[in-house]
């Protein structure tokens, strides 16, 4: 499901592989970037962090995978 024109509240990462989270405006709780590939997680994490730091809005796609909601796509708008 797309959540459009939202602010990124926080981002969080660690040194473990494929590990990135964000809190997006009007989306409940921390959402993990779907840990499919290392560079894919890095790309989405970078996009969300730039949005957060610059107060830019995003469109994010929240997708349920194995009963967990993940961030799988994002536009920087």
């Amino acid at each position: 499901m797309w959540h459009s024109n939202k602010l990124v509240k926080y981002t969080y990462t660690a040194t473990v592989s494929k590990f990135g989270y964000a809190i997006v405006e009007d989306v409940n709780g921390w959402k993990q970037i779907y840990p499919s590939t290392p560079d894919g997680v890095s790309n989405l994490f970078g996009l969300l962090s730039v949005a957060k730091a610059s107060n830019r809005r995003v469109n994010v796609f929240i997708q349920e995978i194995n009963s967990v909601d993940y961030i799988t796509q994002a536009y920087l708008v």
Partner: protein, 434 residues
Amino acid sequence: MSHCESHHEHDALLCILPPYMLENLAEHGTAAEKKLARQALADASAVRAERSAIASRTTRSPRAAAAVAKRRTIYSANNGTQLPGTKVRGEGQSATGDASVDEAYDGAGATFDLYHDVYSRNSIDNQGMELISTVHYNQNYNNAFWNGQQMTYGDGDGNLFNRFTIAIDIIGHEMTHGVVQHEANLVYQNQPGALNESFADVFGSLVKQRSLNHTAAQADWLIGAGLFASGVNAQGIRSMKAPGTAYDDPKIGKDPQPAHMNDIYTGSGDHGGVHINSGIPNRAFYIAATQIGGYAWEKAGRIWYETLRDKLAANSDFQTAANETYNVAGALYGINSAEQQAVRNGWEAVGLSVAGLGWQTNRLVRYVFSTYASKSAYAIIEGVSGWLKVHPESADGVSNVLKALEIAKAFDRRVNVYLQNINGANCITRIYLL
């Protein structure tokens, strides 16, 4: 150049009296006092060279157990300068009736007991080192020193200074220079040198407090109380409670110690202010100890001792000491315990923000550094000493943390970072972009 001063940090004798006090006396004292001050300031290259050789070959004390036995030997220099001199009292022998001899003997015993009974340390080197002291050094000699191998005490001139064994904290101070030499071996210059002096004051004071059974609240927190003869406007050599207030006298000058980083001495005299800037960590310890309460040697002393023993190195500075005492307090008494908070309060009161391990919240990113090598990224975080490595756990994980750091730096955003000691290095392992 003074007996206690040279161009090289390893050549220094570690004296209880700072050179500037004697220099004031050499300028403002009576003719006799000037002569004695100049004598005390006279170059003693042979002694310094010996100190240099000993310090340079000293390594951190081993942890292996050695037989515990207090072995005190007191010598008299018979008012000469040959060390160690003539043996006048050995371990277990009865008092001699010579105050200097017996005070040196008892003071060495009290210092050994503090380190052994409270911190399980077996003498200066943790290997049962014989405690050698020489009294009656030189004629009317106004100082006491650790030369890398033994303690030495002057008689004082009897006019401005009493005998230097009169204050048990001076004895504890000198012996602690030996402990420092066998642990962190802090370089006797600038902030590491001031830490060297401060640790000597801290444990000198604790020897005195324990001998008097004083709590932190009862202690006077003076170094060298009783050393000055009547008529000198001095409570002691230094005040750990109120640095800069120990003395103010026309002959010996005014206590120059700062009590806050804002007033830190940055000149080159006194080996970069080793006896001056020690007021800053001294006061941090005083505040921590009094806030913790009870007997200062039990908790505050243990925190400082374990930091000296395990955490500091030759070039450690005040910020490192602040961070490490905070970490040790957390390890000993619990993260965010009252003891750890007291340590934080002590350092913050003298102008040092403590950065321990764990979460460092709401910080700016000062600098970010990376190379073409894989998993190679570093940052400097506000309030944290030195470069921090991004833990090289995974290539993409390092890239993600680096990205957060870069963005925070570029956009002046704040972060929460989690610091962990990994293989001896403080590393960033997690980060929130705020």
